[in-house]
């Protein structure tokens, strides 16, 4: 949404954005199968995917913890991940909670794998992982994550303690660049309004967090 807003401000054509469940951000007319048909043909360039657990090989667990099927903690399910992760070229993983229980050495259930064996059709996959503390890149040839930058207020020792898997990093990693004033204004204005259309409660919570930033520090 930010990319679209920035491009449109510059007079360029922005990307098309599809949000599941949104009326405004839905340009499909063939039901919920159409997104997957588009992806299968390579018409979807990028996709954001979260995970209950994410491991060092970028395997994603959206099903639950413990031994399947009697998972003591059950999450909703795998949604379209076991397809989209294979066929969308640029999948950006996100998980705000950056803890050893979220970023694990090995997931309890593979909803969808980070990498595939040679010979398996795989035109897509993960390129990055963004958390509340840091940004990682993903190299499928290793396979593994490399720390790209650490968000302000956090350090390498903390990231290592909070991450359940091993990752590569520079001795002195970069700090994540905060958004410039123009970008921040877009994020808190137009992008906020667009998110609120589909996720009103999430947007309202985010507004409370923005207006009372100190409540997080306690």
């Amino acid at each position: 949404m930010l990319l679209r807003a920035l491009k449109q401000q510059a007079g360029e054509k922005g990307p098309r954005i599809s949000i599941l469940g949104s009326v405004e951000h839905n340009f499909f007319t063939n039901g919920s199968a159409e997104l997957f048909d588009c992806a299968g043909q390579g018409r979807i360039d990028a996709f954001f995917l979260g995970g209950g657990q994410i491991d060092g090989h970028a395997n994603i667990n959206l099903v639950g913890t413990g031994d399947y099927p009697l998972t003591p903690v059950r999450w909703p399910g795998s949604f379209g991940s076991a397809y989209l992760y294979y066929v969308v070229p640029r999948v950006i993983l996100f998980r705000e909670e950056h803890t050893p229980r979220a970023l694990v050495e090995k997931v309890d259930f593979i909803s969808t794998p980070g990498v595939s064996d040679p010979g398996v059709h795989r035109s897509g996959g993960p390129i990055a992982l963004l958390t509340g503390k840091a940004l990682f890149g993903f190299d499928k040839t290793k396979p593994g994550f490399t720390l790209q930058s650490i968000h302000p207020g956090h350090d390498l020792a903390e990231i290592k303690n909070a991450t359940g898997f091993r990752f590569d990093h520079d001795e002195r990693p970069d700090q994540t660049m905060p958004p410039d004033p123009q970008t921040l204004e877009l994020l808190r204005g137009r992008v906020y309004d667009e998110v609120a259309e589909t996720y009103p409660d999430f947007a309202a919570q985010m507004r409370r967090d923005i207006e009372q930033p100190l409540s997080h520090a306690s």
Binding site: G21, V23, F28, T29, N30, G31, S32, A33, E34, F36, G40, L62, V63, G64, Y68, P69, L70, T71, P72, R74, W75, P76, G77, S78, F79, G80, S81, A82, Y83, L84, Y85, Y86, V87, F109, I110, S111, T112, P113, S116, D117, G119, V120, H121, Y199, P200, D201, F202
Partner: protein, 269 residues
């Protein structure tokens, strides 16, 4: 035109029942009448995910198995009775991914035994699905494994739509998954906000968004029939009510109280 009880009579014990995703048109009005009949051993197919209705049918003890890509209450969080039933091993799970459900329905629609699809290989979803098969693509020179999804043929499909005409044609707009469900199913039950006099197939503008009566077994009137879900083009989701359910249904007792309360609400003496 039928009433809700007549529709509920089609939902017999042990049938495979297909239900739509929360934003496509869920016939919440039918949840009460189905539970009232206490129809057990249902095998649910969520197209491609389930929510409130699925959680309530599970909570009422009517469900034997669930084939789904996910069950959740959206912004209201996890589906409490589904989660509890999984933990206790009360329901059999057929965890899927959205396009696999669509592929299975499409195979049924075409009268084909299966549909091949990409993805899935290396996932634990595939490992736990003995009904899915992996073959080497016979059109390639060698290798190229691909997954086969067997046809999904529901006994009954149930959904809610804005309108039908008096000939049984149903307006589904661009929610084509509703048509896909109906094509694949032996019986299709539809509740609607209103019944119109004019033939929806007579106007080319509306005809393309119509599920023809050919695929529709019964239509019943149920104003606000998706509530507390919203219905596209008609009314928004009542998020406060879904949150109220999510809180109540954390325990079996809270669930029973909620359902008893909404029964009084829906069926005034």
């Amino acid at each position: 035109m039928s009433d809700l009880r007549a529709l509920a009579a089609y939902v017999e014990p042990g049938i495979r029942l297909a239900l739509p995703v929360d934003y496509a048109g869920v016939s919440m009005a039918m949840t009460g009448p189905i539970i009232a009949r206490n129809t057990r051993d249902l095998d649910l197919v969520c197209v491609p995910t389930g929510g409130l209705q699925v959680d309530q049918l599970i909570g009422a003890g009517l469900v034997r198995s669930v084939e789904t890509s996910a069950v959740s209450l959206g912004e209201a969080g996890g589906a409490p009775r589904f989660n509890a039933a999984v933990k206790d091993g009360i329901i059999a799970l057929k965890d899927a991914t959205c396009p696999a459900i669509h592929a299975g329905l499409m195979a049924a629609q075409k009268g084909s035994p299966f549909m091949p699809m990409r993805g899935l290989i290396g996932s634990d979803l595939l490992r736990h699905r003995s009904d899915w098969r992996v073959i080497d693509n016979p059109m390639a020179d060698g290798g190229d494994p691909v997954v086969l999804i067997p046809a999904i043929k529901p006994d009954v499909t149930l959904f809610h739509a804005p309108m039908a005409d008096r000939f049984g044609n149903v307006w589904i707009g661009r929610r084509r998954e509703l048509a896909a469900m109906a094509y694949a199913s032996a019986t299709t039950l539809v509740t609607v906000e209103r019944i119109v006099d004019e033939n929806l197939l007579a106007d080319e503008m509306s005809a393309a968004g119509v599920l023809p009566a050919l695929y529709v077994t019964e239509v019943a009137l149920a104003p606000k029939g998706a509530w507390p879900y919203g219905l596209w083009g008609e009314y928004p989701t009542d998020t406060a009510e879904i949150l109220r359910y999510a809180r109540a249904a954390r325990s079996a007792e809270g669930f029973a109280d909620y359902m008893a309360g909404s029964k009084t609400q829906m069926e005034p003496a």
